[in-house]
């Protein structure tokens, strides 16, 4: 994957609130997504992963501010004019939400919903848009597409509606797709199907995909590289196979170790405490309070991402704890 990156985040920080009470939600995040690459952004609640996607689309609410650089094909997203921004949103990137029902107007037909964006963005004429939508639906295995166009969201199951969201996202032929927990609201069997479709389409079109999930197992199955977020920062970044099979950060290891298995009964090894948000962390490593390996240094100095064995890890003690981490995961 030696393509120039489509999306490049450099030192991105997000704060929200008013002047008296500003809170840090995301701190100093670097991330790149290249064409044809699927990047997983994994973290629990409060990790800031959804905020990051919102900021990359400039969809954050007014009282939230983004710092750092967000470049799309070398152009600064944060510096876009209103017109550039609407062109960027309508044809360069697409967003698939967690809850498709909340993002469709119950009073409009699926057809209206699908073609509205591309027609308004003057990418396609109404008739052509409908034809393309039907072709896409057929391609991802939706039967009787013409009829579907005339249906309303409540007539479709959650899985089918999420597939419509994929159609809507792909219709303008974007270069990059953000998928924010696209299958979290779905049943597992439907999740498998929707993910298969999404993966197939992304590969076929050689698109970039930023896949946000709280489910490390799911993300590992569908991504090329992984970024694990905790309390608003990326704590580990590397190729999926490596991060998943041999985590270097204690948090990644903890996440892998605490997931129950469907094939064996074991005493689970939970991470003590609860996930925190960036603004709850005063100094030092955000994970120190829950980390079995934390030392005085961890509580005082915030570790920076550094390169360890071909990947990036934000942990002072990577070298010392490697062997023990392996034990945490595989026992």
């Amino acid at each position: 994957m030696n393509n120039a990156p489509l999306l490049e985040l450099r030192g991105v920080g997000i704060t929200a609130g008013d002047r008296r009470n500003r809170r840090t939600l995301v701190r100093d995040v670097d991330l790149t997504v290249a064409a044809g690459e699927t990047v997983g952004l994994v973290g629990e609640s409060g990790s800031g992963k959804s905020m990051l996607v919102k900021s990359a689309m400039r969809l954050l609410p007014r009282h939230a501010a983004t710092s750092g650089r967000i470049d799309f094909e070398g152009r600064s997203v944060l510096g876009f004019s209103r017109r550039e921004l609407s062109a960027y949103r309508s044809r360069d990137v697409a967003l698939i939400h967690q809850d498709p029902r909340a993002h469709t107007n119950p009073l409009r037909t699926i057809g209206d919903f699908l073609v509205e964006g591309v027609v308004a963005g003057k990418l396609l004429g109404p008739r052509e848009a409908r034809q393309r939508a039907c072709a896409l639906m057929a391609a991802i295995g939706i039967t009787d597409p013409e009829h579907r166009l005339t249906q309303y969201p409540h007539q479709l199951s959650g899985g089918l509606l999420q597939r419509m969201m994929i159609v809507a996202a792909l219709l303008p032929s974007p270069k990059l797709v953000f998928a924010d927990e696209p299958t979290t609201a779905l049943d597992v069997t439907v999740q498998s199907e929707v993910m298969a479709i999404l993966q197939e389409q992304i590969r076929e079109r050689n698109l970039g995909l930023l896949f946000i999930s709280h489910d490390l197992d799911l993300a590992a199955a569908v991504t090329d590289s992984l970024a694990v977020m905790y309390a608003g920062t990326v704590v580990e970044r590397g190729t999926t196979a490596e991060v998943y099979s041999r985590p270097l950060h204690p948090y990644t290891a903890g996440l892998l170790a605490c997931r129950p298995s469907a094939t064996a009964v074991t005493r689970l090894k939970p991470i003590p405490g609860r996930p925190v948000s960036a603004y709850e962390v005063a100094s030092g490593c955000a994970f120190a309070a829950r980390c079995p390996f934390a030392t005085e240094e961890c509580r005082k100095d915030r570790p920076q991402l550094r390169t360890v064995e071909d990947r990036l890890v934000a942990c002072h003690r990577v070298e010392q704890i490697g062997a023990e981490l392996a034990q945490v995961v595989h026992s």
């Binding site: 498998s192 298969a196 199955a221 605490c258 997931r259 129950p260 469907a262 991470i271």
Partner: protein, 263 residues
């Protein structure tokens, strides 16, 4: 698992059926639960597994008495003795299942005083004990639900249910809304409770991995009907029904690839 002497079952459900009336005149009534029967032993743990629309939650709500069955019987142990409720329930959403304006300790002592009949001091002492049992301490007693994390709230919900010394504890997707790292804590807690007490679990869940950890028996539902039933390990390791197999195949795990159904 520890072996338990089996006396009378904690819960016997026979031929349960629930129809919801049709929305429009002339429309067909929706059958949410169709001929469901099962037995939950005392101190046992039974999983009701299924996807949305399978009827698993409706079944649990009927057992809890929150919904009335169209036909069929639910017999819970201890339903004869006085006013005590043999069935308690922990709900999915930790953010909505506690009174937002009542402090944790006050909520527990209210239950203990009104339902168990303890005096003020005894209730307070027992409340602290219950909080300790679920891994919380006195300091949490003074807080409001909004000052607790999702995992802590779910612990409080469990403590509230246990306060009434039920025979059966229904857990309706009780860990589904929790972050994984916290989910593991609550699952361990549930296992500890099983070892400590004789309360029986009716564990409603869509998550097979979670079900594996805390149940001995398992019931797979689809479209209101039971498709497979047996010991959890047996059902998950050697599924007989194709739907159970499909469910298992869809669980992401190392080496897993998403698949489009051929149907």
């Amino acid at each position: 698992m520890t072996t338990r002497s089996v006396i009378a079952p904690a819960l016997v459900v026979e031929g349960l059926r629930k129809e919801f009336p049709a929305h429009s005149r002339g429309g067909k009534a929706l059958v949410a639960v169709d001929d469901v029967s099962f037995t939950l032993e005392r101190g046992g743990s039974l999983a009701v597994v299924g996807e949305s629309g399978s009827g698993k939650t409706t079944t649990a709500r009927i057992v809890a008495g929150l919904e009335r069955a169209t036909s069929g019987t639910v017999t819970a142990a201890g339903s004869g003795k006085g006013t005590a409720r043999p069935v308690q329930m922990v709900f999915q959403d930790p953010f909505a299942s506690l009174d937002p304006r009542q402090r944790i300790g006050a909520g527990l002592t209210e239950l203990l005083r009104v339902r168990i009949g303890l005096g003020r001091a005894a209730a307070r002492e027992r409340a602290v004990g219950l909080l300790a049992e679920v891994g919380l301490d006195e300091q949490h007693a003074a807080r409001l639900p909004r000052d607790l994390s999702g995992g802590q709230r779910q612990r409080v919900a469990i403590a509230r249910a246990l306060a009434l010394e039920p025979e059966i504890l229904i857990l309706d997707e009780a860990v589904a809304a929790l972050d994984v790292s916290v989910q593991a804590q609550v699952l361990n807690l549930l296992r500890d409770i099983r070892e400590r007490t004789t309360v029986a679990f009716l564990f409603v869940s869509h998550d097979l991995a979670v079900v594996r950890q805390v149940t001995d028996q398992c019931l797979v539902m689809r479209n209101g009907r039971v498709v497979e039933q047996g010991p959890t390990a047996e059902v998950l390791d050697h599924p007989r029904d194709p739907y159970t197999r499909e469910l298992l195949d869809a669980v992401p795990r190392p080496g897993w690839q998403p698949r489009r159904r051929s149907a």
